[in-house]
Symmetry: C2
Subunit: 303 residues, 2 copies
């Protein structure tokens, strides 16, 4: 028999709302997704959108505590929740939550994002990824990589998220492949080429001049060395490889380095391959890290 539902975790981003119904220990009992991301909602539309999305569960189960995280707590979301500063663990994040009551009496808990005040030139920020790190666990001192449009490298130390750094790798890749001279030279619709990706990684490992290296997508084509089919993956290798190179130069890892990849943005396999090129030993987080982490903070906030 399934355990009873105890909470709802809502990962509410720019383009979608993803809700998970969970039991006491975070086991997923049900899941739903809508396209009511914050970019499609006006200032007074958040509560109705949430109530509509969760109606099936509320009507059969009654009121349940709801944890909401992601861009919904940003300046352009429903309620702007101030960032909590590193180092921070569940207790610090719980202390930074903002609470509301929903029309059916359910407690709504907005989880805060995280800020690294020591990063230069300005404090770095994340909103949502910290939940994945906490869900993975803070018991060991490790380096965590969270691939994405804006990838994060974070360090877990003494039971807290100690510090982190953002790399806008996915954003640069998308710009190049959709809007630049590379887009004009690449097969459309784009194809993936595993060898070209590895090739790009190897080239990135050998060059500090990223602004120059990107031009190789053109010179390789002109020289007849890179095909239109290979271009997209080669460039992906260049930018992800540069992320690893820059992360290494910033001391996120060194010789005999180890790191854990959490999150599931569809990039994990590519990041595992990149890590291999850089001799960085990788372990992988679980698919439900976000849910588990959100539940941990929610429990602490409500206790």
């Amino acid at each position: 028999m399934a355990s009873p539902a105890t909470s709802i975790i809502v990962d509410w981003g720019t383009t979608s709302l993803r809700a998970t119904l969970v039991g006491e220990s975070g086991e997923e009992l049900d899941y739903l997704e809508t396209t009511d991301g914050i970019s499609s909602l006006g200032k007074d539309q958040h509560e109705p959108a949430l109530m509509t999305a969760l109606a099936p569960w509320f009507s059969s189960l009654g009121a349940l505590p709801v944890a909401a995280l992601g861009m919904i707590t940003s300046r352009n979301g429903w309620v702007e929740v101030p960032y909590v500063q590193c180092p921070a663990g569940p207790a610090e994040l719980a202390a930074g939550t903002v609470r509301r009551s929903l029309p059916n009496g359910s407690e709504l808990v907005f989880l805060p994002g995280l800020q690294d005040p020591l990063r230069r030139p300005f404090p770095d920020v994340m909103r949502g990824e910290e939940t994945q790190v906490i869900g993975h666990g803070l018991d060991k001192d490790i380096t965590i990589i969270i691939p994405g449009t804006h990838s994060k490298w974070a360090r877990v130390k003494a039971g807290k998220i100690d510090c982190f750094q953002t790399f806008v790798t996915g954003e640069i890749f998308n710009l190049l492949i959709n809007h630049s001279f590379i887009a004009r030279g690449s097969t459309q619709p784009a194809v993936d080429d595993a060898d070209a990706y590895l090739w790009g990684l190897h080239e990135a490992k050998q060059s500090t001049a990223m602004s120059s290296l990107l031009f190789s997508a053109r010179t390789g084509t002109l020289a007849g060395k890179l095909s239109a089919d290979q271009l997209r993956s080669f460039v992906r290798g260049l930018v992800i490889g540069q992320e690893f190179r820059q992360a290494r130069d910033a001391n996120w890892f060194g010789e005999n380095g180890q790191a854990t990849i959490v999150g599931n943005d569809g990039l994990n396999d590519l990041y595992v391959q990149a890590a291999e090129i850089f001799a960085l030993k990788i372990s992988l987080g679980a698919d439900d890290d976000l849910t588990k982490g959100a539940l941990t903070v929610l429990h602490q906030a409500l206790s």
Copy 2:
């Protein structure tokens, strides 16, 4: 009394055709510009477009040798002229020209672009900038910077262009400012802020992690340190500053370095400021470097 016209130099790029009527020593006698760039012309339209553009001069002066350079000699242009390899001076470029006769008997000389075969991972290329370097002069061993969408750093040595490297700085800036998260946060239409540009340069000088540094355009805004008015110029400082940092790391200059900026793509003042931040001493080329260089190669080709 003006000297007699001896030649026509046509700088024929993607979006425009720019023609200069010159005297024996390269003095500019007349100038015209049309929007018949190669991107708007089909395969059989180049000759008619050129004849129409030059008709006023041909009708009053008769046949004159015409030098054509730029993207018109590329794969997507009129006649693809193979790249000449570095090291190369006027003699090597003249040997690489391709000649045609125009309907009025004028000699049309297509100038080749330049390739640096030693650049990794693929030979680097330029098409047009080599003419500016030659026009500036090859008598002294110097480092030349040609700012642009795809900036070039070139070395003049022993009377030839010895080697060069491309940085896609302008392209990255345009992508970021028009299509990325930075575009959404920036004042539209964009404004220029001289202090923010210098600030960006200083930050770029201190960071090797370009993929990370670019995120500061967001974190600075979130922290209330960077205004929407400052964003564009700050980011421009970051990317141009990274070009200088990467160029320095690639040994284009060191302590007590000197370089000359040629070309006039509207970026020279910004590059002079960047050079100052990096303690690189700058001298400037002349506005007619391209015309003079093209004439030098044309003379050699016709002699």
